[in-house]
Symmetry: C2
Subunit: 430 residues, 2 copies
């Protein structure tokens, strides 16, 4: 096989980028693969749009079957987006023994496991590195570079939109609503921002990462998700005073065969490498048994980084075809899906609440924590804006989520406690 034929679905900014990267690096690619790659068909919606500067008009079609059912196509690159219709298209492609490269994380989060299995049955590859963190080759590093290591924990900033917003809130003291508007104006956030700000996008990516790292089939529903809608300037200021930065952090960890995956606003020490990841950048920390700490940092999205990642995946697919190991990319989960329960999830926590400023109040509160064996690393008490109340901020030592929830429930029952204002996980320190 001296040529691999590609069908490209979608010719937006990423699709155009893919065409350009393949053209610019033709020689290099041939050298690295021992064969050529050629785009044979491009699926577009509007055949009449002017594209002569990008691609030969003869290659265009609006009929999917000319790609996914054509005998002369080996690999489908899907960069058109969409979920249900696109899923059907890719199912047809797999049944016709086409390998797939996709940058579509929404699709992979919903139908990924099914598609991966279908691919395996048909001895085909699906590679989707571009879907997780555009410019960071993190999936490949997990399945390849760190292949010979046991991964214990992954900790990452995997959503560029929320990281951009939180950077603005932290560095410029702006309110949530105004940074959201700014992000929307810049095109970083959608008109309906829920998928980003509620943490769902990050949760989808953490699911994909955790599955690969732990070789266990975890679902989106297994992720504890808290978004950033309720994050306030006061929280950020308190964190700052205690030498922390708040980031939306995805954590996947494995202990004694049991996994925990969460996405939530998390306090990190200001000098933690993830604390410095600013604006729309992404970074993923990996703790491996042998290799120790490694981190990958890069742009989370963008059309050129994504196109570059798509081409890297394409080269991998071609290598696998030529090695005769297509379909081996998908590793059947080796371990049964087992999740930590609340009494097994250990972490430090930041807790902030408002109390009546009266004698004995503090004692009453510390009693409750003592009952649940919760001890503290840091405590701040200060008068609140309200008359006759005080605000208390505490950072616990490592406690179980069960201890946290039980003591918070008790706290809320106390007459002197006006309200629990916020609580966040604290991570990245011993």
């Amino acid at each position: 096989m001296d040529k691999i034929n590609v069908g490209l679905c979608g010719l937006g900014t990423v699709g155009t980028g893919v065409v350009k990267v393949l053209q610019d690096h033709q020689e290099h690619i041939k050298h690295k693969l021992g064969c050529e790659i050629e785009i044979r068909k491009v699926l577009v919606n509007n055949m009449d749009k002017q594209r002569d500067d990008i691609i030969d008009r003869d290659w265009l079609t609006n009929d999917p079957s000319e790609l996914v059912e054509a005998a002369n196509i080996d690999v489908i690159i899907e960069v058109m987006g969409g979920i249900e219709d696109t899923n059907k298209l890719l199912e047809t492609a797999l049944k016709n023994k086409k390998h797939i490269v996709t940058a579509n994380k929404d699709l992979m989060a919903v139908h990924g496991q099914k598609l991966l299995r279908l691919a395996k049955q048909n001895h085909c590859d699906i590679l989707y590195d571009a879907s997780v963190a555009g410019g960071i080759p993190i999936l490949r590093s997990l399945s390849d570079g760190l292949a010979s290591d046991h991964i214990q924990k992954i900790m990452g900033i995997v959503n560029g939109t929320t990281n951009y917003m939180m950077t603005k809130m932290t560095d410029e003291g702006l309110a949530y609503d105004s940074v959201l508007k700014e992000a929307q104006n810049l095109g970083f956030a959608e008109a309906d921002p829920s998928s980003d700000v509620d943490g769902l996008d990050a949760a989808r990516k953490m699911t994909l990462l955790a599955n690969l790292a732990f070789k266990m089939e975890l679902h989106l529903e297994d992720v504890n998700v808290t978004g950033i809608r309720n994050l306030t300037q006061e929280d950020i200021q308190f964190a700052e005073n205690l030498d922390y930065t708040i980031k939306l952090i995805g954590i996947a960890s494995m202990h004694n065969g049991k996994a925990e995956v969460s996405v939530e606003p998390t306090l990190l020490p200001k000098d933690h490498p993830l604390a410095l990841v600013k604006n729309e950048y992404n970074a993923v920390y990996v703790y491996g048994e042998a290799v120790g700490e490694t981190m990958f940092y890069g742009p989370g999205a963008g059309s050129l980084p994504t196109a570059t990642a798509v081409v890297s995946d394409l080269m991998e697919v071609v290598k696998n075809i030529r090695l005769g190991i297509s379909g081996n990319t998908y590793i059947d989960p080796q371990f049964d899906r087992q999740l930590k329960e609340d009494h097994e999830k250990y972490s430090r926590h930041f807790i902030r609440f408002e109390v009546d400023d009266q004698a004995g109040a503090f004692q009453e509160i510390t009693n409750i924590f003592s009952e649940h064996e919760v001890s503290f690393a840091k405590i701040l008490q200060l008068p609140s804006d309200q008359e006759k109340t005080a605000e208390i901020v505490m950072v616990t030592h490592k406690i179980s989520r069960e201890q946290l929830l039980k003591s918070m429930a008790k706290l809320e029952g106390l007459a002197i406690v006006k309200r629990l204002i916020s609580h966040y996980r604290v991570d990245g320190e011993e």
Copy 2:
């Protein structure tokens, strides 16, 4: 070919790690490669040492020819160190069509280009990812993941010993001599620490990185190297006051087909991601045309990270054998070796000197800088410990190295200038 046979040279901590990683991950490796890997011979010095818990006694030999000339060996893993004898061994291996994986950066820095060419002639691979930054798959990322990108700049902390020492000096206010002693006691620094503290080790690694990134054959002599022997607490404090951290930074950049490679103590903004890389950790920043900024962070050395990197390289070699592209890993330099001259090397600089504290002194100094069109972003003047002298610290805007050297020479000629105390590059900001 359903089995690849390996000869292992060296059974120290890294070699033992390689044996263990291969044993532990046998199934996974077979799955990813479509074939098995087996260690057939192990070259050791002392045949009598007790190693029965690690490896079968029959595999051991102290005769190199049983590995490098044996018909049944496909790949040589070299983790025994040494330069000249080891070079001869590997030359013989290549002439006998053995592929090579090595973790030996001293060897690669001295004989790398020659070995790579010999390998290519014999259609063999030499992979040496483990030699550059143990746990960071940076060479592979440069030649693979970012393959379809043009790399403009690499900036890295690539020597763990000096980074450990500078972290201690910065965070704990210790003097150079005492941190060196500590590093020696911990085994991070050698009895003769020159290779680390004079920047040679880092320069070797930057040469290997630059060759690969720019597809140009650069030599160790092309690197401007300054070590950390003269670094003082005062320099660190002044940098701190100006919101910088000093790190030993390797920089390789490419502009208009001309390269610049340097290793020198460099001031970085405190919130630059490299400024937070502490202790013995390494990190490499890569700026690609398409992908933008990416960073790889991890342990720079250590026997398990290095063993893991060796096995990853081994897997790559095996893939290439099966793809029939062995020898293609080495890319002939595509561009002629062209280096920037001093008037083309632009950077900001930190300059610190002691002057007579008399009227007009400051004016005289600024006149000299004006003559050379050097302007400043930051200036500090403060009385020195000496009587009647003052210390001046300046941070320039971007100037050429020619401007820097000329104005410093003029400065040194001034009667009022007692001495130039230190000067460092400033990078990582616009």
